[in-house]
Amino acid sequence: MMRASPPSDFEPDPLRDENDPVWNLLARAPLAEPDAWFAARTLARCRNEKLGMEPSAQNAGWFIRWTRMGRWAFGGGLGVCLAAGLLVAQMSSEKADDQKKVQEAFEIMATMDSDTDSSSSNSSWQDSSL
């Protein structure tokens, strides 16, 4: 897009503003005015700002920040503990299951052994002569 640029000899004439119809037209839409309470509200806001800047308030700010940080740390710690507890519980239950399975396996093997002892006394692998 082509941009309108001022002519090379462009030197704004202080009188030109007054003669320019665009300038006069802009005057027909003057600046909006603030309401009657604007100054009072702004002063109140500045006062609040001042309170926020005072040392006691700053200390209070620090205290609040630390409390908030402590709260987050406590929450985080609790979460980690809970997660660790769950993990340990899960691991121990898995271990118990494994132990149970091993015990069952031993029991099965033991019954199998006793069966073989009683039934296969003539098995070749038990033959001491071999």
Binding site: V22, R28, P30, A32, E33, F38, T42, C46
Partner: protein, 221 residues
Amino acid sequence: MKKRVRDEEVARGAMGDSDAHDKVLMVEIARGDERALRELIEKHQGAVYGTIAKMLGDAVEAQDLAQQVFVRVYRAAGSYRATAQFKTWMFTIVRNLVFNEHRRRSRATLVSLSPPENETGNTGGAPGMDLPDLAIKTPGEAMLQRELMRKVDEAILALPEQQRLAIVLRRYDEFSYEEIAEILKTSVPATKSLLFRARETLRVALQDYLDLEGGKSGDEK
């Protein structure tokens, strides 16, 4: 011609007095004088609020931003060094806040839920704006005047932000080219160029009204 030069000198002298008074007020504000702060706010609220409202076209945002300007002035009172004109310095704060707000708005445009401008029910000026009473006689004239104001405001709002601020500062706040250049952090020739382009854009956008005004003044003659 001589009278004009003398008038300008008087105006400059008055401005100098006004600036010196602003600087005195800033010293008093730094000492915690609330009356000085009130005086400063009351003195500049019209220009600050009006400029921001023209720049944003939103009365509520303009109130908030104008308050922020004075809060910043108040906060900076302790460290304020009177190296430049007070008003120029204050309008640098206005510029920063307004341009930040533009950036924030341009980021938020995609998720805007506000109704289009022509559905807000406003009959004049930018949406929600309290326009000054111009003491117009007939309802027809009032309507025409409101429409003209709305069109002028829309044309200004359609300008790029630098041009918009330059034109508002020059036309409504009557800053010099040097002061506008300082506020916009640019050179004087660049400021003149910005103003030239802004005027040309406005001339095109408001051509119908310019013709109407020309016709009116021709009739009057």
